[in-house]
Amino acid sequence: MSRLDRAGIAKLVAADIPPGSYVNLGIGQPTLVADHLAPDSGVILHTENGMLGMGRAADGDEVDPDLINAGKVPVTETPGASYFHHADSFAMMRGGHLDVCVLGAFQVSFTGDLANWHTGGPGAIPAVGGAMDLAIGAKQVYVMMTLFTDSGAPKLVPSCTYPLTGLRCVRRVYTDHGVFLLGEDGVAIRETHGIGEADLRDRLGL
């Protein structure tokens, strides 16, 4: 079995989202999860710029500059959608009302620390958006990422070297090479793709 592509990872995440959940999908890769949710799942998508019941991306005449998602992409509304202002939107997160959020990451530590907002590199402009609020707010934080950088360095690491987004907040990490469950007892490997578990443990130093 080979490693998963982005759609393959998104499918795995979508399959693990309980029906009827309120879910925030972070900008970038996590938005792909929406394409793999079953139509009858009853999952309601939250976008932090003030909407519950976000629908698919808008197409043609549907494009409305007043209706965009957190990535500033025009979207549609589903029946039963609602709008609210930013303080209410983030109260929803911080108050623990969202069941799941799915975020991308530069790095996740074995203990669930998340780094996904800033490389800290020279000339890099810091921009956090809603990442820190989501990291501490949702009941479950899932990360979707490739397991290794282009140069082969692991992104699931003993301790993050990039600036942190949140401490001990990530519960699951979905990657091209496997799914990892992070808990009190450390890292558990749920499944592997395109690599044996022993090799994977070796490459990650688990």
Binding site: G26, I27, T47, E48, N49, G50, M51, D64, P65, D66, L67, I68, N69, A70, G71, K72, V73, P74, E77, Y83, F84, H85, H86, A87, S89, F90, A91, M93, R94, D113, H118, G123, I125, P126, A127, V128, G129, G130, A131, M132, D133, I136, G137, P163, L164, T165, G166, L167
Partner: protein
């Protein structure tokens, strides 16, 4: 320090004929809250009027730091902004900000988006400060007072008060009651509460009684000036970001 309360004379909402009139009197050095998330809800006509009025040395509080070369980006390009407080300055089309920042010509305070909203809400609600779990253990929580509440760490966050708020809504009545449209609502309602002078641009201003009181989002008590801009600029969204 006690904050200045609105004076009796400024309590009723004024309807202005032009955006220039609506932003008149903004002083150099003012802190200006600017609504919008990217281009959605960005009060472009008010920002353009602010640029024309010549006020400088401004602190801008807004989610983003301008898109393309219009609206907030044009105000930045005109060199009127000393400092910007925002959650997501870097976007695909934030060329103006990027250049100012990299050449050290603008100060930046990055604030997590929810803290930005809540700090504005706190300002409008008369809250002195609040403990918040967002940002604990991160560079944005560093140096802040922390406290463990129910076993969870929190950092102390202070309100953000504006001298002026410039926001965009869909419709106002002459009492300043506002309704918004879809995700263009975003920061408008909280910013309206957090400034000494709140100015709203809307598509139309109608008589009292024309808005269903059940759907008014911002009650007129928060709004000092309204101006109808019936065909506002629709900025093309080039970027992505949070």
């Amino acid at each position: 320090m006690t904050r200045e309360r609105r004076s009796a004379a400024s309590r009723s909402t004024q309807v202005h004929e032009s955006a220039d009139e609506a932003v008149a009197g903004v002083c150099d050095g003012a802190t200006v809250l600017v609504g919008g998330f990217g281009t959605a809800g960005q009060p472009v006509e008010l920002i353009d009027a602010l640029r024309r009025c010549g006020a400088k040395d401004l602190t801008i509080v807004s989610n983003n730091a301008g898109n393309g070369s219009h609206g907030l980006a044009a105000l930045l390009a005109a060199g009127r902004v000393r400092r910007i407080v925002c959650s997501f300055p870097r976007q695909k089309d934030s060329h103006v900000f990027d250049e100012l920042y990299r050449s050290g010509r603008i100060e930046l305070e990055v604030v997590p988006q929810g803290n930005l909203a809540e700090r504005l809400r706190a300002a409008g609600a008369g809250i002195g400060a609040f403990y918040c779990p967002t940002g604990v253990g991160t560079p944005l929580g560093q140096g802040k007072e922390t406290r463990t509440i129910d076993g969870r760490d929190h950092v102390l966050e202070f309100p953000i008060h504006g001298d002026v708020a410039l926001i965009k809504a869909q419709q106002a009545d002459t009492l300043g009651n506002l309704v918004y449209r879809k995700t263009a609502r975003n920061f408008g309602p909280v910013m309206a509460t957090a400034a000494k002078l709140t100015v709203a641009q809307v598509l139309s201003v109608t008589e009292p009684g024309s808005l269903d009181p059940e759907v008014v989002v911002t009650p007129g008590i928060y709004v000092d000036r309204v101006v109808a801009c019936p065909s506002p600029a629709v900025l093309a969204e080039e970027g992505a970001g949070g």
